[in-house]
């Protein structure tokens, strides 16, 4: 296994030699301010450094190396044209403080993307500022809080959140001062409408619905629920992280959403994982436009302008103008596919998931029998009697060279296995994965120990996750 760079260090292994006289530099710093010990940097030769990092890069698992069925994460292919265009010097050499007239190109990129997202959302305006999905949720919740404040209805604190929503929703709403109340799903995986009724009063701030939800189920009652919430004076937030299941088919604004966020890094094919960068634009209905964060890009005559003059703005939520590199990539994706192409990505993402679900449910249990869209959630019920847990199935998949699906989420399915194939994959790849999943189900039947003790073909066997959680080693020490 690859050592840490610190462990590779050996005295005298530096290989950049500067003349002595260039190193005798006088620094006019008070001795009291200097640390007694020198910085402990590793000494490694240049070639060894190159080999170290090249080997590490080869250990990476990514969508460019193999199938990545991580449910909820939408690990679709990130087309290379996105990378090529966002790397143009006309984009990458810009500075945030350059004068407006000299950056009309990037402002047009932002303006066009705002408009495309407005069109897809069916709402009135978009901010590109939020750095990721949860940041979008936070901005959206700030907007709702400010709306009630300006309206003189600050007593509205109750935010209803179904148990099928993304886990970040309750956290975001608490950060904006609301009080989340969990609504449980019915046997179809839909929101239980009866449970909403006691909250339809003047303390209701609104509801945050993930549509389709974390089970991959599109709630057909969304518009009915939205009407109930609106009649009680509340707002409807739609978590649009799963927009890849709706593009060109349903506009959230048309079914009653007032505020929503997109995940450009999921739906619109920009790289993600391991901390981003992401981008979580927020779209709002007309009466909420005056609360958007600043700035918004506008077009006046032939010129693009940054508008900082928004009446009840929630203020600054990010330095600069959003994650520009991601915004450019997303626009390239829009323009590459066009209206028809984007709609087709949804068709194929849903078809791929439906096909895979039909094949896999022959040997894996599924709790909710409802029609699903771009992803579905299996569990280990059929394998459980042999003592096999979802974790074991996931570990066994690693032996066959696959990244495991999302497991143990959503929490409403015990021992969940959440699979999202995305539209990127060929039928061949999908069939190969299905074969392996079915093979593992057979192994669970005939040789359960093999599955329980997986992985067998990797550098490392089973990790002690409990110890890792209780006694994590977060820092290298000599």
């Amino acid at each position: 296994m690859e050592k840490l760079i610190f462990e590779m260090s050996a005295k005298g292994y530096e290989n950049i030699f500067l003349p002595e006289e260039n190193l005798n530099i006088e620094f006019n710093i008070d001795k009291n301010l200097l640390k007694a010990e020198t910085l402990d940097l590793p000494e490694v030769g240049e070639l060894d450094i190159i080999r170290h990092y090249t080997r590490l890069s080869q250990l990476n698992y990514s969508i460019d190396t193999n199938f990545y069925p991580l449910g909820s994460c939408t690990m679709k292919y990130n087309p290379k044209i996105n990378e090529e265009i966002s790397a143009y010097s006309e984009f990458k050499d810009l500075h945030p403080y350059m004068p407006e007239h000299s950056v009309q190109g990037i402002l047009k990129v932002m303006y066009d993307l705002q408009n495309y997202l407005i069109d897809i959302s069916g709402l009135s305006a978009v901010t590109l500022l939020p750095s990721a999905g949860a940041h979008g949720e936070l901005a959206g919740n700030f907007i709702m809080a400010k709306y009630f404040k300006v309206k003189g209805e600050e007593q509205r604190k109750i935010m209803l959140i179904p148990d099928s929503a993304h886990g970040t929703n309750p956290a975001s709403t608490v950060m904006a001062g609301f009080k989340p109340v969990q609504i449980t799903s019915d046997e179809n995986g839909y929101i239980d409408i009866e449970q909403l009724k006691p909250y339809l009063n003047d303390e209701l701030a609104g509801i945050m619905i993930t549509q389709p939800n974390t089970l991959g189920i599109f709630d057909p009652n969304f518009h009915i629920i939205a009407k109930m919430i609106h009649e009680a004076g509340g707002l409807v937030y739609m978590d649009g992280a799963n927009m890849n299941a709706m593009l060109g088919h349903v506009k959230p604004g048309d079914i009653g959403a007032d505020v929503m966020h997109f995940n450009l890094h999921k739906t619109f094919s920009t790289p993600h994982g391991m901390g981003g960068p992401g981008s979580g634009p927020v779209a709002v209905r007309d009466f909420l436009v005056e609360f958007l964060p600043i700035p918004i890009v506008e077009k006046r005559g032939e010129n693009y302008k940054l508008n900082y003059d928004i009446k009840h703005t929630i203020g600054n939520i990010k330095e600069g103008y959003g994650n520009i590199g991601v915004i450019i990539r997303a626009l390239v994706y829009f323009l590459s596919l066009g209206q028809v192409g984007l709609k087709e990505t949804t068709d194929i993402a849903v078809l791929n998931a439906a096909y895979m679900k039909a094949k896999l449910t022959k040997k894996y249990h599924i709790k909710y029998k409802t029609l699903t869209k771009h992803e579905f959630v299996l569990d280990n019920k059929y394998q459980e009697e042999k003592g096999i847990r979802t974790l074991d199935i996931a570990k066994r998949l690693l032996d066959y060279g696959y990244h495991a699906p999302t497991i143990y989420f959503p929490l409403i399915v015990h021992e969940a296995i959440m699979i999202e194939p995305t539209e990127s994959e060929s039928k061949k790849t999908i069939d190969e994965f299905i074969d392996i999943m079915l093979k593992i189900a057979d192994e669970a039947e005939t040789d359960p120990e093999l599955v329980k003790t997986a992985p067998h073909n990797l550098h490392f066997k089973r990790f002690d996750e409990t110890r890792a959680a209780k006694q994590p080693i977060l820092r290298w020490k000599k």
Partner: protein, 122 residues
């Protein structure tokens, strides 16, 4: 010992009441690695959050079975939260509490009712 639909139990042990989570609940949580509760002296109403258990896979709140006041957190859990996995309904109790309204105990399920309730799940 009385149970809630959200899988907490409450039982009188000596002079005090103890609250924990059921064996069924611990088996659904995987290995528990951290436990915390509201501070000593806090009054928690029935159904409100009494504390949080964190497993390798998720963090889950547990709730006050009836109106209670927290007397003490189970110190064993600070170093050995896995005690909840090993003995959820005995040594793995989570908080000692003062019961504010004994009458509310009648609203909870006894062991056989709880078992029947479990059989309706899944």
């Amino acid at each position: 010992m009385k149970f809630t639909k959200t899988h907490e139990w409450i039982a009188k042990v000596g002079d005090v009441y103890r609250v924990g989570i059921s064996d069924y609940a611990q088996s659904h949580m995987n290995d528990i690695v951290y436990a915390e509760s509201e501070a000593d002296g806090s009054e928690v109403k029935k159904g409100e959050r009494l504390g949080t258990l964190e497993s390798v896979k998720a963090a889950e709140d547990f709730f006050a079975p009836i109106d209670i006041k927290v007397i003490a957190f189970n110190d064993i859990l600070a170093d050995a939260p896995e005690t909840v996995n090993k003995a959820a309904e005995t040594d793995g109790w989570i908080v000692e509490v003062e019961v504010m309204n004994e009458g509310q105990l009648d609203e909870l399920m006894d062991e056989s009712q709880y078992k029947e309730f479990l059989s309706t799940l899944e």
